[in-house]
Symmetry: D2
Subunit: 364 residues, 4 copies
Amino acid sequence: MNFGFGNDFRITVFGESHGKCIGVVVEGCPAGFPIGEAEIQEELDRRRPGKSMTSARQENDAVRFLSGIVDGRANGGPITMIVMNEDINSSWYDRNRTVPRPGHSDYSAIIKYGSFNYWRGGSFFSGRMTAAIVMGGAIAKKLLRKKGIRVFSHLTQLGGVSVDFEVTDHQVEEMAPKSPVWCADSKKSLLMVEELEKVKSEQDSLGGIVECRVIGLPAGIGEPFFDSVESVISHGIFSIPAAKGIEFGDGFRLCGMKGSKANDEFALEGEKVITRTNHSGGILGGITDGMPLVLRVAFKPTPSIGKAQRSVNLSKMEEVEIHIEGRHDPCIAVRAVPVVEAIVSTCLADLMIRAQKISRVKGD
Amino acid sequence: MNFGFGNDFRITVFGESHGKCIGVVVEGCPAGFPIGEAEIQEELDRRRPGKSMTSARQENDAVRFLSGIVDGRANGGPITMIVMNEDINSSWYDRNRTVPRPGHSDYSAIIKYGSFNYWRGGSFFSGRMTAAIVMGGAIAKKLLRKKGIRVFSHLTQLGGVSVDFEVTDHQVEEMAPKSPVWCADSKKSLLMVEELEKVKSEQDSLGGIVECRVIGLPAGIGEPFFDSVESVISHGIFSIPAAKGIEFGDGFRLCGMKGSKANDEFALEGEKVITRTNHSGGILGGITDGMPLVLRVAFKPTPSIGKAQRSVNLSKMEEVEIHIEGRHDPCIAVRAVPVVEAIVSTCLADLMIRAQKISRVKGD
Amino acid sequence: MNFGFGNDFRITVFGESHGKCIGVVVEGCPAGFPIGEAEIQEELDRRRPGKSMTSARQENDAVRFLSGIVDGRANGGPITMIVMNEDINSSWYDRNRTVPRPGHSDYSAIIKYGSFNYWRGGSFFSGRMTAAIVMGGAIAKKLLRKKGIRVFSHLTQLGGVSVDFEVTDHQVEEMAPKSPVWCADSKKSLLMVEELEKVKSEQDSLGGIVECRVIGLPAGIGEPFFDSVESVISHGIFSIPAAKGIEFGDGFRLCGMKGSKANDEFALEGEKVITRTNHSGGILGGITDGMPLVLRVAFKPTPSIGKAQRSVNLSKMEEVEIHIEGRHDPCIAVRAVPVVEAIVSTCLADLMIRAQKISRVKGD
Amino acid sequence: MNFGFGNDFRITVFGESHGKCIGVVVEGCPAGFPIGEAEIQEELDRRRPGKSMTSARQENDAVRFLSGIVDGRANGGPITMIVMNEDINSSWYDRNRTVPRPGHSDYSAIIKYGSFNYWRGGSFFSGRMTAAIVMGGAIAKKLLRKKGIRVFSHLTQLGGVSVDFEVTDHQVEEMAPKSPVWCADSKKSLLMVEELEKVKSEQDSLGGIVECRVIGLPAGIGEPFFDSVESVISHGIFSIPAAKGIEFGDGFRLCGMKGSKANDEFALEGEKVITRTNHSGGILGGITDGMPLVLRVAFKPTPSIGKAQRSVNLSKMEEVEIHIEGRHDPCIAVRAVPVVEAIVSTCLADLMIRAQKISRVKGD
């Protein structure tokens, strides 16, 4: 088990899909830092189903603080936040608890935890857990913002539609929030919405790619040897259900480039050392170099689909057909956008604090 | 800082490129487990330059045990192994210590550590550190092998040449070791070698993709919520210098699939629950499902190239041209093959031990 | 910061004295393990003020589960429990927030966290936090009990009264719960109660010693080199406010013995290897040897006393007299009895799980 | 297993008593910090047998750096140091490997690790491992000294002789190093030496108490809730073989005091907040308060004695008599003095770095 993540800024998540609540304990927020329920709520609302057309379960998630905030400010201790679970119907799960849903955690979970665990909405494997991540990440994000660091993201692919041209940071920051699918390009956004509606009518689902960018990061963040920026962020990202790939900078495309092209040459911009290109996505040797951090995360299609699928009834050990009922996102990638930002913010808040520790003697 | 990796099977690496030695402390090997220097040496030899044509520095690395082995068996305590550094020439680095090499850690390292750290072969950022990983991974690999788990890999892309058709596990295991570039397809292997020679003559470099597979893994390995198999492996993989992307199963290709295609339906093979396809690469909900584990790692081109590049002399704060001398691999991806296996083995050995701990009550 | 404790069985505490609630997240309880609110409540009631005469604040603590329990059984995920704070009056603290109370954390806390943190009942430094420890420890205790391991304790000293003769395990287990001050000797118990009443009337306080014993522990528990049984337990124990000393087995008295006396000679009792004496308190080389674990914890007198004391007004930087109001235990040691048991249980549950991992090859 | 200790300043020890070497990997020393082999050697020489009359095995330990130091300065990476083992004679152990020595780790180790582990000088349970701690601690100590923090200690009890009067910091720092048994009082020192000689002639051994003091520590060091100064230090201390008790400030004596006496009242000394007494040993709420840190560690008598003892031959399962041969310290406490300092220094270096991290917003 390990429901905690981070070293000096740390989140511990709890709750389950069809239980009482989803919650998070956040450690490492400095005492005196102002935090209001409204700002956490704002982040939480961004991942709510209904933001896009991609969801059906109504989650009127209202964040509640349980600890760590006194008179609107962090007290230096653990900050605990919860959202209650409502609108739950477990009947389908109760009837199908011995038949693992394809593409879900059900089968591996029952192997590991036995029948006590797996049923009813995926328990703590549910995408619902990402509400906890978003609440914790909201504090991280604000900590970064106070230091002039902005974390934002957009959907660059949804099923067959992809944004394959260059999009500026400004466009991403401005346009993506206006799209129901976080697509920074308005035309592609329309196409993606169409794609979504089509697949929904087919009782099927689609995958997608979320690109996250961070600007304003100082150079020098990241902890050799094993806590490189890429290591820490990928560790966090792969905790998001359905994430199956990640790349930094030009990522997989770097494999086809020559070194003379892939290397970002150093240059001066006034007194500042920069690189004219940013193929490495702002990370060299696992440490930030002061250029924008860029990463992309691949999400597989929502495994819950209406279409009939083949599975095995584990209590009878016979092959059966399974019909998943209930309301499901036709594309998790859309709702994952704020979750990716939350994880990236959490990782960077942690690494920023770790980098406060003196790693060299002064006067050097 | 964090030079240790793993929980219950743990490696701590030390050393630097142009220092006395590279070494590793391995914790978590059970007492009584037989380990000989020869088997560590064998793994180490696989990453040696000269195995392929990709390298020039002579590393006659001979492993030496410093602790943890009594009469050919682990004593339950930390196993320490080193290889001495030889054939070192630091003169180029001494002359260029204020000019960061593009694509290298030099710049971010000097920001973090100051001038004491960065020069002379990249210090502890050097790819040479992977010798420590390979030594530690050799023990992990043997622990897995004793349980019937085999870890093997091959190069699926080198620069412009890629193996884009299906390759069987058997082919990978049998053929890749025979290729100087770990390519399981003999024709593509020849093309890759040609590509390498060409880029070498151009004083340039290439990237590549390493695919790693693991067969024989039981279902139930992986620790929710934050230590999913993907989280732990990606964390380790991104410690390998030059790794810039990772994907599990069909990875980024899943984004373009529909759920009905991407979901691996469950079926029975005798008494065993299997999936007929393996798009998820053997992992569901972050936990192994008993199918082969499959992952691919993208490596950028070797940043050290002979071609002139632009950089900045940090002591004078002026733009300069840099000419890197010395002997360098034209493609790190080739030498990374055994390193990827070592990291994957280390992660799985750790997760296997963690899964020994009872996660549910008996009789369930 | 670090509000989490343990590796494979882990508690994370949250809350503050005068906030909404006190809570704990427990990780590592195996799925399927039966847990009811009533059994947690039972442990919680043991530390309630009013159990003895030692307290005044009314804490009608009713435990509430927030996560991790489905149909009366652990689901394998984090178990979250809270008790609400009631009967709070912060007015004294609000008036005295710039004057640190002698013997309390106020001064060091304000240095570390600033004025946001320190006031109102000691915030997360309060003894009230031990309610979280007791809830978490209750699960640990039950896990141990299922394996035949019993954890119990008694007060061996309260102020000037001490139980300086041999007390059998049976006496401790049977008699201590019947005493209002957990004293296994009924005569001494009466004397302690008198002592308490006297010091209460003087508006002063007393310290005491809690002895904890564990029987039924198998040999082989404890993790060299740095997680010896003593290391892990003492780490946990010194998180209890007011703990100032700990000793194992004969502890400080061993310093005056000769080796020939202090060594516990091995003997056979049927097929079982035992030691006829137990000066080492069941631990050799940091690992249990199968004999009863014995430890004693020294608690200083309650720092909150009614008597006038000298302090400094930090906002005016002048020496002042401070008069602490409110209701306080005249002896924390009494209420610490179930807390010591909770910490010891938590540590042992963790070390038991860690010892499940194979530390040697079979057939040895 | 856990051979690593610390978070941001971390030591990982390796080696065994009768193996090739004893070593340590130190992480967290800032780049550029000057470190020479001579200063490590100096600390190492303080624990050498022969410093006092208490030992017999010749250990001409010469420290060797394997990594982390470039041109006399730390490079920011792991610093690895070893001392080779010499003058080893394992024959007694080879002959007696199935008979556990009373008071030693042999029995619990064989239960945990099997027969591969236990014999030959106690393997990694040996007091010899403390050489690794002293090497790592030497770096910590120097880091502290550069910040004006001094760690020193003395023996306050050896067998029946104890220094039961007040000894000033100055006396401890000046006089203890001049005594062969680290006793700050010259008369008691002579008595202790006599006591030692007597017990040696009896082929027996004695225990003792080491008191460690730290002056110059700023207020605000220590990490709530679970990494209090006492928690971290006691965790480290109980890794020293034979440590069986620890107390901070007045420790166990506080149990007999009243709160009005035990509380250290705050006062002003110019602009500085101080306490006129220091019963709490410089720690309030687990955090330093700026007063001197004081702690005492109880060491049991050396378990290796020449006198015949009863034990069990585990291979034949019969009770036998055991005669331990070889050269052993008649009192480990004497040699433990620099080890206690090394652990305390390591803990404080770690907590100092952790306290560098911002725990509150500025301007508060």
